[in-house]
């Protein structure tokens, strides 16, 4: 079955970039669409620096996991970490490569970016369809003085399975027992209300077009398209604005030290300035690679990406990994990869 998923993934990858028939001097990966802009930037810079080519097929996290399990690529990339037992069963190792995050965006007449403040429980009730008006006491209570209309809230969510959705609903499940029992978490869930947009751009467009709507997108989309994002109350009880700094605070305060195989979703992180829906992209590789030469080149690439490639990450509105996490990852490589 996994092989079948991989085959479909391959078909979707179009040109079959992921076919591992290429010669040495080439590394292939597939998976997360979220990390794709950064991967293609890294790929061209790394090629200039070392001459090694990196082909990354942006087929989606689920397909990326399926392809690495079927060993049709050198590495898979996913927005959702695999649990340690799954990794052990497939002989895989896993580590984060970059940090991103999800921000709620709204479209309310007269409200500009960062003006509205929400907390996790309120947002869960909005996405459950329990809070239906913008002037509901639960929202106005968090926003004293803000002029919120007595209009129906239109919820916008992703229609395709996505790591963005996974991190968003993972956060809602952590902060709202009701969300956890009624909807739960996954790359796609049974949304109680709302319309579904395809991809970040689909959600962004729906939110822009539908008055009094709320949705969620990756930070880069919110910044690039000038959307009205909201502030969120974090675990420490502070209202924070989404920014590269608050994402970095979220990543730094997460408990990486005790996460076996880095199996950690860093939403609802404890840091005082931490953005509550911070997310990381994980890479999965074989612990005992079949092709030692390719594997060596791949790790040269990841070492380069983690140490030198983080400046490009910042330019593209991703957040670099904290230095102590990078050294933890390099220790993990030394102990786990043969």
């Amino acid at each position: 079955m996994v092989r079948r998923i991989a085959l479909f993934g391959l078909a979707l990858a179009g040109l079959g970039v992921a076919l591992s028939v290429a010669s040495a001097g080439e590394v292939t990966g597939a998976g997360s669409t979220f990390v794709y802009p950064l991967m293609s930037r890294w790929s061209s810079d790394f090629n200039t620096a070392t001459g090694t080519r990196l082909n990354y097929a942006s087929v989606g996290s689920g397909a990326g996991i399926a392809q690495i399990k079927a060993a049709t690529v050198d590495f898979g990339a996913s927005d959702k970490p695999l649990p340690a037992e799954d990794l052990a069963a497939a002989g895989l190792a896993q580590f984060p490569v970059v940090i991103g995050g999800v921000v709620p965006v709204v479209h309310i007449e007269g409200i500009s970016a960062g003006q509205i403040r929400l907390d996790g429980a309120t947002m869960a009730r909005i996405f459950l369809g329990e809070i239906t008006k913008w002037n509901d006491p639960a929202i106005t209570g968090l926003n004293p003085g803000a002029k919120l209309p007595a209009e129906d809230i239109s919820v916008v969510h992703r229609s395709d399975g996505s790591g963005t959705t996974f991190n968003f609903v993972n956060y809602l499940s952590k902060v709202s027992p009701e969300w956890k029992s009624k909807v739960g978490e996954g790359t796609s869930v049974a949304w109680p209300v709302g319309v579904g947009g395809k991809g970040n751009e689909g959600v962004a467009n729906y939110v822009k077009q539908i008055p009094n709507s709320i949705g969620y997108v990756e930070l880069e989309y919110a910044l690039k398209t000038g959307m009205t994002y909201t502030a969120l109350k974090n675990k420490a009880g502070n209202f924070v604005q989404p920014s590269l700094e608050s994402f970095a605070a979220g990543a730094a305060s997460a408990d990486w030290k005790n996460a076996k195989d880095f199996n950690l979703v860093i939403t609802d992180a404890p840091g005082a300035q931490a953005w509550p829906i911070t997310a990381s992209v994980f890479v999965m590789v074989y612990k005992q690679p079949k092709d030692a030469v390719r594997s060596k080149e791949m790790f040269t690439f990841f070492k380069w990406a983690l140490e030198k490639g983080q400046a490009q990450a910042k330019e593209l509105n991703y957040v670099s990994l904290p230095p102590e996490l990078v050294s933890q990852i390099e220790k993990y490589w030394a102990s786990e990869i043969h």
Binding site: A190, V195, K198, I210
Partner: protein
Amino acid sequence: MTASALAGTHSQNSEDPRVSARIASETRQDWVFRWLLFGAATLVLVCLGAAAISMLVGGRLAFQTFGWAFLVSDDWDAVEKHFGAFVPIYGTLVSSAIAMLIAVPVSFGIALFLTEIAPTWMRGPVGAAIELLAGIPSIIYGMWGLFSFAPFMAAHVLPWVRTHLAGIPGIGALFQGPPLGIGMLTAGIVLGIMVIPFISSVMRDVFRTVPASLKESSYALGSTTWEVVWNVVLPYTRSAVLGGIFLGLGRALGETMAVTFVLGNAHQLNVSLLMPGNSIAAAIANEFTEADSEIYLSSLIALAFLLFVVTFIVLAIARLMLRGLERKEGR
């Protein structure tokens, strides 16, 4: 020349070795030609059968797990792993029905205008323009629908629909809800615009085949243009016109990208046409890449199989209707 005379010349000439060689080579050519034709026709059947069987096999797990409930359940929950096809099937049928309600009369008008009314110098360019429309990729229609048409619907059309139609008892339920601009009605209209070129170009071509003598006789008897169309052109071309309509319907049922953009992609059952829904093709396109469990993937493939079945049933009904018409006409 009669058949026996022909046979006579053959037996006479076949004594000449050059002629018999030529006959042999022509027979061989004919044989190859027949098998090529047979192969082309068989290829279609083989592809069709292979697609149907592989979808059935791929969706087997879903059919086994959910049974008949898969057809009638409106549940679609990837977390709990409960899947039902009712919402997408309903959305596919309703959006296509809206599309046909719009496309059939408009295409009819276009085709009649081009064959009966338009001045000759206009027929070529307008006909070519319609065929060009058919060549636009569906994603362009989808983007146009999302960026231009949905906001227009939300700002101008839907508020009017809500004030004037929502109060009517019975059909009023179809027009309730917030004017999102994205939903079944918008998707149906975009689909309708997409299939107009297909239906109208078929209609135009068959209207052209009506012999001028028939039409002119009718005009000579004092018929109006409408009477000529209704009593001469349409009866003459009825079965081909129906064929064109079902060609458009087949396309509307399977359309993916344009629908995905404007349908709202929500697995919720809503009577109102203003609310978002889902269609089979849109659900598959949206969810295939991240279908992360076997039963999820199998349910999507089962959906594909159901689309196949729905299309087959619709086309079968079309055939039956055609046969009924032909019998009535005594052909």
